[in-house]
Structure formats: C-alpha cells, structure tokens
C-alpha cells in the first residue's frame, strides 16, 4: 500500500469512483472522495454528468472551493437547482438518478451496509445512522460503496442493515421488490469488488497496486471469492491526478 511517490491510496480511490460515473448520468455524489470523483469525471470523461445532493441541490459543475458539507456555500452558489430534500429524493425514487455513492462502517458478503451499530470486544458503539444512505442503497440503479478495507469492517453478516445490498443473497432483492439495482461496486483502500449476478456474493475484481489477494483476504471476514480475470486496479493517469489535485490542492481528503 505504499504507492506514495506517485499517488496516494485515496487518490486511487477517487479515480476509481470517477470511472464509475457515465456521461449524462445523474449521481448522488455525497461528500469527500466521491465528490472529488465527480469533479474528475466531469472534466475528463463525463462532461454531462450531474451531481445530486440530499439537501436539495443539483449541480452540473463541481464547486472549486474545498467544502466539508454539501450545504457549504460554494456548493450552493451557481448550482443548477436549489430545492428541497424530497424533490431530489423524488428524482432518485423515480429512477432519474442512476448512481449513488455511500460509505459505511461495515459491509458484508452480500453488500449490506451498516452505519448504526458496531460491536468491538463486546462493546457496542453507536454510529450516526442512515442519513440518506438507505435511500440511495434502496433506490439507485447502481450503488457504489466506499470502504476502508479492515477485517472488522468486513464481517460475514452485518449486525444491522442500514442500507440494504443483496440481503441474504440470490434473488433477495427481486423477492423483496426493492426498486434500485443494488450495489454494483465496492471501492476500498486495497481493492475493488463487484457482485456475482446470480449468487450476489461480493467478488474481488481488482487489487490496488502494491496489494495482494492475500492482503485483501486477511482484511476480509469471510473466504473471498476472487474473479477469474482478477487484475490490478488501473492506477490514476497523470491527467486524472492533475485534475484531482486541482480540486484538492492541499490533500485535505486524499493525503
């Protein structure tokens, strides 16, 4: 995990997120890494992508100033639209938003995410809760989960399902008739994952440069399925890094 010379792991994660955004798509881009990913995607390969924020904001260009919340004035000024929470959640529910990014404290084998309660050494820790994550996980056509790859954060089954992935696996979402498509990718500090279209189990797709499959397995709480064509996560190009660093010049989010 020491690729520092050229780029940081977080920079790699931002670029991996950016590559998930297709041109013309609407995406709930959240904050921090995926928000930076939106900025990179807009400049390089998705010029017509649109960012949607739960507070009621829709933007067709990324704010240049660094922001800590989606309601910070630079994210409001010169937005495409300012309205209410229900207005933008309506865009999500009606299928106009194709993509959403969420984070989590825990994710399990079927992509279910927990941001309510974790247990460490018998002690339960209360986390902040869903925010809009459950909405994105339930409703978005594709949901991307950004995670820190740590064994304690990758249990076989989450203690509490805040944001449903594929539930108990094969056909669970279809049976429950959830509207969105479910998690399509997990981007972690060590790797990226996809999900088996049948069993809905998480599959290791790529490992980041410098990490091995064994490293990832060590930080995963169940026996990992590995893609037949497993490869290395494509490192950020010089161009991608240049754009990214324009938006995060001091590495607030990516150092």
């Amino acid at each position: 995990m020491k690729a520092r010379a050229a780029y940081t792991v977080r920079e790699l994660m931002v670029i991996a997120a950016a590559r998930e955004i297709r041109d013309g798509e609407l995406a709930f881009v959240g904050m921090r890494l995926p928000l930076l990913g939106f900025a990179v995607a807009k400049e390089l390969y998705a010029p017509r992508a649109i960012g949607v924020f739960e507070n009621g904001i829709v933007r067709d260009w990324p704010a240049l100033a660094p922001i800590f919340t989606m309601s910070d004035p630079p994210n409001v000024a010169r937005a495409l639209y300012c309205g209410g929470l229900i207005d933008v959640m309506g865009l999500l529910q009606s299928g106009r938003v194709q993509l959403g990014f969420i984070g989590g404290a825990e994710i399990d084998r079927f992509g279910n995410v927990n941001t309510h309660w974790v247990r460490e050494r018998q002690k339960r820790t209360r986390l902040p809760g869903s925010g809009g994550a459950a909405d994105i996980a339930t409703l978005a056509e594709r949901c991307i989960v950004i995670m820190s790859q740590e064994r304690r954060r990758f249990p076989p089954r989450v203690e509490f399902v805040t944001s449903p992935g594929y539930g108990e696996g094969a056909a669970w979402r279809e049976r429950a008739r959830l509207k969105g498509g479910g998690p399509s990718r997990v981007i972690t500090t060590m790797a990226t994952f996809s999900f088996d279209p049948e069993s809905r189990e998480m599959i290791l797709s790529t490992v980041h440069p410098g990490a091995t499959v064994a490293d990832v397995q060590r930080e995963t709480g169940w026996p990992l399925r590995v893609a037949a064509n497993i490869g290395t996560t494509a490192p950020p190009s010089a161009e991608e890094l240049a754009v990214l660093r324009k938006y995060d010049p001091n590495g607030i989010w990516t150092s």
């Binding site: 004035p73 209410g84 809760g129 925010g131 459950a134 409703l139 805040t162 429950a176």
Partner: protein, 303 residues
Amino acid sequence: MGKLSTLKDAIAEHVPDGASVAMGCGLESLIPFAASHEIIRQKKRDLQLIGPISDIQFDQLIGAGCARQVTAAWVGNVAAGLGHNFRRAVEQRIPAELVIEEHSNFTLGLALKAAAMGLPFLPTHTARGSDFARAAHFAPVSCPFTGEELLAVRALHPDVAIIHVQRADADGNAHVWGNLGVIREAALAAKKVILTCEEIVDHDVILADPNRTAVFGFCVASVVHVPFGSHPSPTQGYARRDDQFYFDYHRQTRTREGFLDWLQTWVHDINSHQEYLDRLGPDRLGPLKPSQDQRAPAINFSA
C-alpha cells in the same frame, strides 16, 4: 404584528418541557444554533428533537440533558464524524437515556410532508429492506392499482419548528434561498414556528418576490432578529461555515468533562447572542462574511 420577540421570550413561551421540536431543517446550513443554545440555557427538559442531520446541534442538546428522544436520520458531526454526546447517551445513558426514532433522510422528509399536507401517511419505495424500517412508525401498504408493496411513513407533527432564514417580515413571512432541505415541510407540519433571521425586512420586500416565500407568516408564532444565528453553520449570502468550530467541538467533547467545559464557555457563560458574537470576535467573524456580491439576475413581475 406583535410577533417580533427576543430569543429568550420566544423559547420561554413556545418551547415547553416535553415539546417535540424540529430543527436543522435546512440540513447542514441554516441550523438555528442561537435558538438551541437558548434552549440549553433555559434548561428545557424531555424534548423530542426532530431533524434529518442536525450537525452537532442535537449532540449539544443531548449532552446538556434537554432531550428525551431523537427522531432523526443521522446524529453526529458531519465534518468530523461521531457525536460524542449522542454516543454517551445511547451507549451509557449519560447524562440520561435517549429514545431514538430512526429514519432515513427521505422518510423523515416524507413524515413531515405527510403532516404538512394533512395526510396520516405517505407511501414510498425507500428503506424497504432496512432494519430500521421495522419500527412502528413504518408499515407496509399495497398499491390498490398495481399491487406493489410500498412502505408507509407515519406523519410527524412537531409541536414547534425552529427555522433560521435569510429574511423575514415582522409577521413571519420568510424568503429563503439556497438548499431548502425540509424547511417548507417542517414549517407546515409543526403546530407553530419560531423564526430566527438574518434580516427583518418590510412586508413589501416579501411581496416583491412571492416565489421565494418558503414560510408563511400564518404558521409563525415568533420572529427573532439574530444575525449569524446559524453560526457555526452557514447561511447562504450571510455567513460561511465555521469549519474549525466543528473540529474544535469534536476534539473538546470527547470526554463528558470536556463537553461540560465547552458548554460553560459557549452557552452558560453567555447571556445573549451579542455576547456570543463578541466571544467569537471580529477576527473570526470577519472571514465568515461572504466576500462577493453574487446577485440573482433580474426578473420582471409586473402585471
């Protein structure tokens, strides 16, 4: 119109112990911190706090012992992470037990919207499959046309909504711009509204741009002039976010003692919002004022 009030009087009159209080309805901006500090100073108890995100505001009220219940989608410190008081209350009952009515952002918005529209519930596709959606304020409902199963979200009627806005007239008709979060829904869902505002304007200013009216005076019980009343949260066009304040809060409130010190400094030792602004000081407040004047383009309303 007799609604102009001090913060002290507005909170004393309209926020009784045990009240359900909606705040933080703009999400991370327009949070009425001046009002919630006054709630703490007046030692209100057993409040039910209602709001989607609440960015450290609910954490403060919980730590100060004002809250019996939180109805929210998220409680913490958006930039810095967990809310230490929220954790202490839920995990260790310090300073007291806390009941949590769990929502997602969307379901909380719909609960307020249902109440605002005079409906007992609204249906949605969201949160089906989330564990928190098993609570009693959610229920399955079938579409009578398609047979689809949806989630019904129960209407939520706060006793009072406290809303910070950019400008209001003396009767409480308010213009808001930027992200609106669930402000409009909360104002209509609540039995009454306390407005805090950056500017009191003539009624004529409201009438000159009726598409900006986000809160009706007929919903409002008190109007309080509180410039920088959302500090440290931002108010578009009037105040930037004071990020450092959130990070300091996070660091200083890791321990119960640290929080009590913070509370003494920023709430109890302060008798008015002016004293609060004085404590922040001009060196801190100056850079929080927007630098440019980005005016909205002209529109013609003439008949």
